[in-house]
Symmetry: C2
Subunit: 266 residues, 2 copies
Amino acid sequence: MITSASNSQIKEIRKLSQRKFRKESGLFYVEGLRTITSALEQHAAIEKVIFCIELLESEFGKALLARAQKKGIPNLEVSRSVFESFSLKEGPQGICAVVRQNIQDLLANSSLSGLWVALEGVQDPGNLGSILRTLDAVGGNGLILIGESTDAFHPTSVRASTGAIFSLQLFQADTAAFINWRKNQSIELIGAVCGEVSDYRSYNYAENTVLLMGSEQKGLPDSLQQVCSALITIPMIGSVDSLNLANATSVLLYEFYNQHNPVRKK
Amino acid sequence: MITSASNSQIKEIRKLSQRKFRKESGLFYVEGLRTITSALEQHAAIEKVIFCIELLESEFGKALLARAQKKGIPNLEVSRSVFESFSLKEGPQGICAVVRQNIQDLLANSSLSGLWVALEGVQDPGNLGSILRTLDAVGGNGLILIGESTDAFHPTSVRASTGAIFSLQLFQADTAAFINWRKNQSIELIGAVCGEVSDYRSYNYAENTVLLMGSEQKGLPDSLQQVCSALITIPMIGSVDSLNLANATSVLLYEFYNQHNPVRKK
């Protein structure tokens, strides 16, 4: 059992709270029984499980540790004070994991099918994570992060995704690379904007669709609008002039879902 | 010009970052050019505008101050260091306001019409604020906060609402009071749950509807489900077992909007 918070392995875990070290190591930190369960079930590349018996009170938590051990995932026992030195929760549940990031360069991928979301310059990790959550819920395939954006592996994004970060594919590309990539793709690219374009409900979404959203502050730049198959907008009749990015994306994703999974009115 | 951060008026402004003092004073703190513009346009009860000429660089900001002054709203000039002592922004724009809270006891209101959202025990002020934003966008009338919840006037909620906190009506009630109130109301109360109930798309929403959502962690308690006109659910086909509260509310609000504002398919 590690009892010193200055142990080198523990220092490496704490460093994962910084984007710089997440990038350098290609790893990220995961906490919460539900999220770790999801990592296991989705066969995420878990490098290490760290636990503290004193804090691991629930039967569910103990079973989760046993399951990880049975799978042969390396594990590390630490003291309470050590666990609390890196835990992000107010009431730590005594188990966390270090997981390898599952994001790839978009250019390495020749073609995509199914439903995708592409986010250009997304800034809020909570938005990013909850978009992953909705995208998983509607049966989507994955997310493309374009340009300078927040980190999908930020603890807030991971938590907000409630496990969807493990079930979905993740790609990244800079803006110019995305535009080039797009020119060789037959998948429909549907851009969401504020303006005089089609009402999002009047568009018939193809089965293979990338829904492209701009950033919270700036919306979708012209260079990206120009390579879209179509532009759509969500009507608004109140006093605000836009919606929260994750809320807007969720509304659009459920329109896609609804068109492909209709219900009959009772 | 106030140059001391320990001035009593300045201390009162800083205290508004604490829920306790927001409650005691019935006031809240508003920052950001867009949000203050909205407060003015929606005729919010602005008690005071505070500004710092050195920070108020934009023409838009200067015009906003002039507009507030022309309306006869009391204003207070402060030094840069004083403004920075209470500002919540990294790059303060040099203008903020203290506004009277526009929330009322639900029981004081005999009947509601139009579209409302009721949130039971909502915990995240960002969710609350972005729900106000979507509710405004679909032409909703207001929000009812039920039970122990976060504060609608928390700075994160105010910011996330992008002004909708001024355009919508706000009510509050404890859970028992809400249930009693509801028994004497003819408005439809539609509860959103996870489970084997109607698909949200198969329900025909009445013009006068309260959409009732449970908290992020616990969902809608039985006592509230029992007084609903109907229960609805959002289908999910992925691995996650629920949606973010604000995303789910937005999907439901746009279904209401869509039923009452249909578009013809092209």
